[in-house]
């Protein structure tokens, strides 16, 4: 439909309507995401009275009461620390396991490669609640229950598909001749990787690591089932805020959402790379 050199009147009309529809859908989609976040922000920064009153104000009143309450809340800092430890472990493990898999997928031809790629994605289709109970039993037997490492293992399984697909796309974007040139210039496979490939994909690897971090940070189900004492922030808030007043729920949600949003925003470019669109 690109070769419409001569626009008939009603075609021009169609095009205008199309553009209007496009703008409307974009606005709607943005609103879909942004409006709830905005309400979250307003209610977090409002005094308890305002949160419970009606009609709602559209301007935050910058009351930091709810947030300061959280800063001093019992167990809050421990949960935050647990979340960071688990997310960090998840990040390290998913890159250590995912990146070599991505490298293998992009550099070697082997039987069942396409099936393997599909299977990696399909692991995401497996419902976590189904896994959680047997996992909990197994973890209790092996002593992994209620540990940061045990939870990080589960989160790593969740993050690996993304780590593999993102790094696969990154490695595919690096011409194999660069590695071959390094081999002829005195490198082994390993040194060629560390001296040539790694510097080139480091930004992408960082992005993929951050993404793994966010997956772990946001995960609540496994965290709630597999930990009791060492709860992560999500599980902790889920547990303690169930009965809490509304303004504290908003503040808790806000604390969870903001780091995830910042991280995802930082690595947005590489999330496209996962599907092999960008990164050229």
């Amino acid at each position: 439909m690109t070769d419409t050199a001569v626009l008939l009147p009603d075609q021009g009309q169609t095009r205008k309507t199309g553009r209007w529809l496009y703008a409307a859908s974009v606005t709607l989609l943005c609103a879909w995401v942004i409006v709830p976040l905005y309400f979250l922000l307003i209610n977090t920064l409002s005094s308890p009275e305002t949160v419970n009153s009606f009609p709602k104000s559209f301007v935050p009143e910058f009351d930091l009461g709810s947030l300061t309450f959280f800063a001093g809340f019992q167990g809050m800092l421990t949960a935050l620390k647990n979340s960071i430890v688990v997310a960090f472990l998840t990040m390290v493990m998913s890159i250590l396991i995912g990146a070599p898999a991505g490298y293998a997928l992009s550099r070697f031809e082997f039987r069942g490669k396409e099936a393997f790629r599909l299977l990696i994605l399909l692991t995401r289709a497996f419902p976590l609640p189904l896994l959680a109970l047997p996992l909990a039993v197994m973890f209790i037997r092996t002593g992994l229950d209620d540990t940061a490492f045990g939870l990080a293992l589960v989160h790593t399984t969740l993050a690996i598909p993304f780590a593999v697909l993102i790094t696969f796309s990154l490695f595919s974007g690096i011409p194999v001749e660069l590695e071959e040139a390094a081999w002829t210039l005195g490198c082994t496979r390993l040194t060629a990787f560390t001296k040539v490939v790694l510097p080139l994909i480091l930004p992408g690897i960082t992005a993929s690591a951050i993404f793994a971090f966010v997956i772990s940070w946001n995960e609540v189900f496994a965290a709630a089932v597999l930990t009791i004492e060492n709860r992560t922030l999500t599980a902790f808030l889920l547990q303690t805020l169930g009965e809490a007043p509304l303004h504290l729920k908003f503040a808790g949600g806000f604390i969870l959402v903001v780091p995830a949003l910042i991280f995802i925003f930082a690595v947005r470019k590489y999330l496209f790379a996962m599907w092999g669109i960008a990164n050229r």
Binding site: E177, L178, E180, A181, W183, T184, L185, G186, V196, L200
Partner: protein
């Protein structure tokens, strides 16, 4: 001394036989060009020598040392790639010095060798730049400098000029030849461009369907093709062919003319002559001119001889038009004969 010996090397990709039993010896400091159309196996052979590909069978020796089981870095080779493969995250200086740093050379030695090779390739003013800030020709120079800085026994080049534009290619070709002649390195150069092959090579190996059909000096490959394939591949335009039938006693009938040829008992041979080895004459092959293309110094005629397409390159002071009848005489010492069954050259003296 870096004589290269390729012994019975074969390569198979699944059911596809890319190389058949290759045997080739390349003398120390020789400039060998592997010439062939795409898919003939020339790049595969080069990559086997480099160690980037593993042969299915056979051995590769460099300087009296069997190297086919060694990783690329231990083979004493350096390679120049078609797409240059200049490292984008390093400056030109660090690119050229990359191999030297891998050898753990002292800093001042690295600087000395990088500066010298950069001067040799006329890129000393680019040393602080990154590959993204270079033109194609400059990248090519960096790639060559990086290989030369290694001071390798053997330098391998895989179509290094094919991504450059025509003018730059001419310039780089001459420069490469000069630089390599001075470096005393054995060179193997892969190309599909026969002019490039002719102008650079000490010796050309013409490859076809995974075999080396002829390995000889450029002039010999041109004048005495060992196989009909070489005759039809080398030269622009290539050799003309006409069927010849045995007229007895080493005489052969070709399109109503009789030529002296090999004294063999075969019933039929193929007569071959280069377009530039034909002269207009009173007595010769009857040719009907189909097309006249003036090339400045010469005229390229496309004719019809006994129902076969036949090309002749004549002096441009002739007046010829399409549709004219001409008689073309072939220079007797330039006529070549091929066996139509084996497609091998049949020597006249036999």
């Amino acid at each position: 001394m870096a004589e290269i010996q390729i012994r019975n090397v074969a390569k198979r990709f699944g059911s596809y036989q890319a190389l058949h039993d290759i045997n080739l010896t390349i003398a120390d400091q020789e400039f060998m060009v592997l010439l062939g159309a795409s898919g003939c196996g020339k790049s595969t052979l080069l990559r086997i020598i480099a160690g980037l590909e593993t042969q299915t069978t056979g051995e590769v020796w460099i300087g009296g040392r069997r190297i086919d089981h060694l990783p690329p870095k231990d083979r004493g080779i350096a390679m120049v790639f078609q797409n240059y493969a200049v490292f984008p995250h390093l400056t030109v200086f660090e690119n050229i010095g990359f191999g030297l740093r891998m050898q753990k050379l002292r800093n001042d030695e690295v600087t000395r060798r990088v500066t010298r090779t950069a001067e040799l390739m006329h890129i000393e003013q680019l040393l602080t730049r990154y590959s993204g800030e270079l033109s194609g020709g400059q990248r090519q120079r960096v790639a060559v400098a990086r290989a030369l800085a290694m001071e390798p026994d053997v330098i391998l080049m895989d179509e290094p000029l094919s991504n450059l534009d025509a003018l730059l290619r001419l310039e780089m070709r001459a420069e490469l030849k000069g630089v390599l002649a001075e470096s005393n390195t054995t060179a193997i150069y892969v190309t599909h461009d026969q002019v490039e092959a002719m102008s650079l090579a000490d010796r050309i190996s013409v490859m076809h369907q995974g075999r080396i059909v002829q390995a000889a000096s450029p002039v010999e490959v041109y004048r005495d093709p060992a196989e009909r394939f070489v005759a039809g591949f080398i030269g622009n335009p290539p050799m003309n062919f006409l069927p010849a039938s045995n007229h007895g006693n080493g005489r052969w009938a070709v399109a109503d003319q009789v030529f002296a040829g090999p004294d063999v008992s075969a019933a039929a041979l193929e007569f071959a002559i280069r377009p530039e080895d034909l002269r207009p004459a009173d007595d010769g092959l009857e040719a009907r001119v189909r097309l006249v293309e003036p090339l400045g110094a010469h005229l390229l005629l496309t004719c019809d001889v006994a129902g076969t397409m036949f090309r002749a390159i004549l002096d441009s002071d002739m007046t010829v038009r399409a549709g004219d009848q001409l008689k073309l005489a072939a220079m007797p010492d330039r006529i070549r004969w091929f066996d139509p069954d084996t497609s091998l050259s049949v020597p006249t003296a036999a």
